[in-house]
């Protein structure tokens, strides 16, 4: 290994070592040194990287959006709710929005605001019965299916349930459209 660098002082010392045993001993100690440094480096980097990776958790919980009578049949409105266990310094970013549609007496559907193309927030245009994305012009019908433009799949939905007259939404990870 050290022989590659012929004009290296340490290498000269190795070559001038009084006996072959000494040379062997030095080579061994070099290996031990490298291994020890490797172990020390692992003690530093493994917790650091594991901490970085471990921050990604996806808990979920049910959040109330209000009484079901507050929502008219056939209408789609913006609802907002708080992420599960937000960090104390999350501020406004702890909130999430969704488009809630009351389909009939007992059925609700909640669409994610994230366009399935590249995640920009889609807007509901009530008079047109369409969701439109301001970024690349994706358009979705009122039921979330793709109407036109680049989105590859329908708007994703959140689980919704009715609990004692209250509409509840289950917090979910940001839908990531995969390739």
């Amino acid at each position: 290994m050290a022989n590659d660098i012929s004009d290296n002082r340490f290498d000269d010392a190795l070559i001038q070592a009084p006996d072959p045993h000494d040379k062997q001993r030095r080579a061994f100690l070099t290996k031990v040194g490298v291994a020890a440094a490797g172990v020390a480096a692992a003690f530093v980097t493994v917790p650091a990287i594991a901490f970085l990776l471990g921050l990604r958790k996806s808990p979920s919980s049910w959040r109330s959006l209000g009484h079901m009578d507050d929502f008219k049949i056939g209408e789609t409105v913006e609802v907002t709710f708080t992420d599960p266990s937000p960090l104390p310094w999350s501020g406004v970013t702890a909130k999430t929005a969704a488009w809630l549609r009351r389909k009939n007496e007992n059925e609700f559907v909640a669409f994610a605001i994230y366009c399935t193309h590249l995640g920009c927030p889609v807007r509901w245009i009530p008079t047109a019965n369409l969701f439109m994305c301001p970024c690349h012009g994706g358009v979705f019908y009122g039921d979330g299916t793709v109407a036109s433009g680049p989105p590859p799949q329908p708007l994703s939905t959140y689980p919704v349930r009715i609990n004692q007259g209250l509409v509840e939404i289950q917090t979910s990870p940001v839908p990531i459209t995969t390739g």
Binding site: G91, A94, A97, P121, M132, C135, A147, V174, I176
Partner: protein, 483 residues
């Protein structure tokens, strides 16, 4: 004066400063006659980087890297006179660095200075180029307004298209299931510690290699790099014709670097920093995320490519670009350096610069974006204030047609201009188009009552060339179209 000299002699004796700095400063460099000003781009990039380091450290002393408070802290910084200038310098410094590193890379590519023995010079430069682009991307997110917030989301969505690990990678970038408290901290750590550490390291490597291999001589057609003889030839060339780097060549670097810094300062004082948008509140749906100019062409590219090719373009095109940059010096490490003997290099640069320019222009216009803030058509355009045509104009607005179709200067430019639709299409043809939709137009077959449809057709049939040219929209309406 004498005692200062003695102090310096003492200091130099015990530190070896002039021994260490002398040879690098005065090492021989090619005179480069005609092309000598092309050699200042790298050092000017370094000058811009140093501006970024100093202004960045100053900004970080007041910036609060918290998802909940960064926005307010940026408003605080911008409210201070010097804070405003520092933010401006950091912004124009980043613009300067991107432009200069791009020009430097193009210069080195055209002159093929990446060939033997400078292959690793180039590869370390590739790391610096990619690191600089990452700094621009993460920096835009640290401007934690609505634009910064959605840039993080869009970045995660793009990463999501990567094969197999996409979903994991997307959420890793957001530092959680949803963007929130951890998201900004992650980008802050990347922008302020991780990427700068890589940049500092590779700048050192890059500069060391520049000294180790010497600055490349200007290429000459018919004088190829021969690996066996190049080093010897270069050394004898430097002995014959080389000039000391300091001051013969370095004064140009110093001069141009100072100009760059001065321009950054003047722009920061006169134009000020980029505006801080609305708060990073995910529930404010009224958002039109746009990347800063350096990525605007890519934003346009993703709009204009065929939909089926998206996964490929989003993942493979950056990958191919990086592979090309890495393979270039390893595959083409010897032979002719002159661009005159490498015409494809000129074609490629024209193609690249032209393509970026074209898509950048498209990105500024963003014709594919629905203009959801277009105002309803005024009576002067509609021509009547009541009756079926007026009702049809209202339907045209309410159903979102106007967001994508222009009428007498009002509306969007995604679809065809309908100012003279009555001259071009019959009623039946219009019905077909409205009902069937198209790749970029929704079908309205279940979305219009027959009354609405008839009124809409009456309105569209009333659009004639006369209207298109007679009515000039007010300035405000035009600005709706070209933002």
């Amino acid at each position: 004066m004498h005692s200062l000299k003695r102090l310096w002699a003492w200091f130099d004796d015990i530190t070896g400063t002039s021994k260490a700095l002398g040879p690098p400063l005065t090492h021989p460099v090619p005179e480069a006659k005609k092309s000598r000003w092309f050699y200042v781009l790298g050092s000017a990039t370094l000058a811009a980087f140093l501006v970024q380091v100093v202004t960045g450290i100053a900004l970080s002393s007041s910036y609060v890297p918290s998802s909940g408070q960064a926005y307010e802290s940026l408003h605080f910084i911008t409210g201070e006179n010097l804070g405003r200038i520092l933010r401006g310098m950091h912004y124009y410094g980043s613009n300067a660095m991107i432009i200069l590193i791009g020009l430097h890379a193009i210069r080195v590519y055209l002159m093929a200075a990446y060939k033997y023995p400078r292959q690793v010079n180039w590869l370390s430069g590739v790391v610096l180029l990619l690191g600089t682009l990452l700094m621009a991307f993460t920096g835009q997110i640290l401007r934690w307004d609505q634009g910064g917030f959605w840039t993080a989301v869009v970045g995660a969505e793009q990463a999501g298209r990567a094969p197999l690990i996409g979903n994991w990678l997307g959420h890793f970038i957001l530092a959680g299931a949803t963007p929130g408290g951890a998201t900004l901290s992650r980008f802050f750590a990347a922008h302020v510690f991780f990427i700068p550490a890589v940049l500092f390291t590779f700048i050192a490597v890059h500069l060391y290699l520049v000294l180790h291999n010497g600055i490349s001589e200007p290429p000459k057609a018919g004088r190829p790099v021969v690996v066996r003889t190049y080093k010897h030839w270069y050394h004898s060339l430097m002995e014959r014709e080389g000039v000391p780097f300091w001051p013969d060549a370095a004064w140009r670097d110093l001069f141009f670097g100072c100009v760059v810094v001065l321009v950054i300062f003047i722009l920061a004082v006169t134009l000020g920093p980029p505006e801080i948008g609305k708060p990073p509140d995910p529930t404010i749906i009224q958002a039109s995320p746009r990347p800063d100019w350096e990525f605007l062409w890519y934003f346009a590219l993703l709009s204009l490519i065929p939909h089926w090719s998206e996964n490929f373009v989003m993942v493979a095109v950056p990958a191919i670009f990086i592979v090309f940059l890495i393979a270039l010096p390893l595959v083409g490490g010897k032979g002719e350096r002159s661009p005159l003997r490498r015409p494809w290099s000129i074609v490629l640069v024209i193609f690249l610069v032209g393509g970026i320019g074209y898509y950048w222009h498209q990105g500024v216009l963003a014709p594919w974006s629905p203009r959801m803030d277009a105002p309803p058509l005024p009576e002067s355009v509609v021509g009547v204030s009541s009756g079926p045509i007026a009702v049809g104009a209202k339907v045209f607005y309410d159903k979102g047609c106007e967001f994508c179709h222009l009428v007498s200067g009002y509306g969007g430019i995604r679809g065809p201009d309908l100012s003279d639709a009555g001259d071009r299409l019959t009623r039946a043809e219009m019905v077909t188009r409205i009902f069937s939709g198209a790749t970029n137009m929704p079908s309205y077959s279940n979305n219009l009552t027959s009354d609405d449809l008839n009124a809409l057709l009456d309105f569209l049939q009333s659009r004639h060339r006369a209207y298109k040219y007679k009515i000039s929209p007010p300035p405000g309406a035009v600005s709706q179209v070209v933002r």
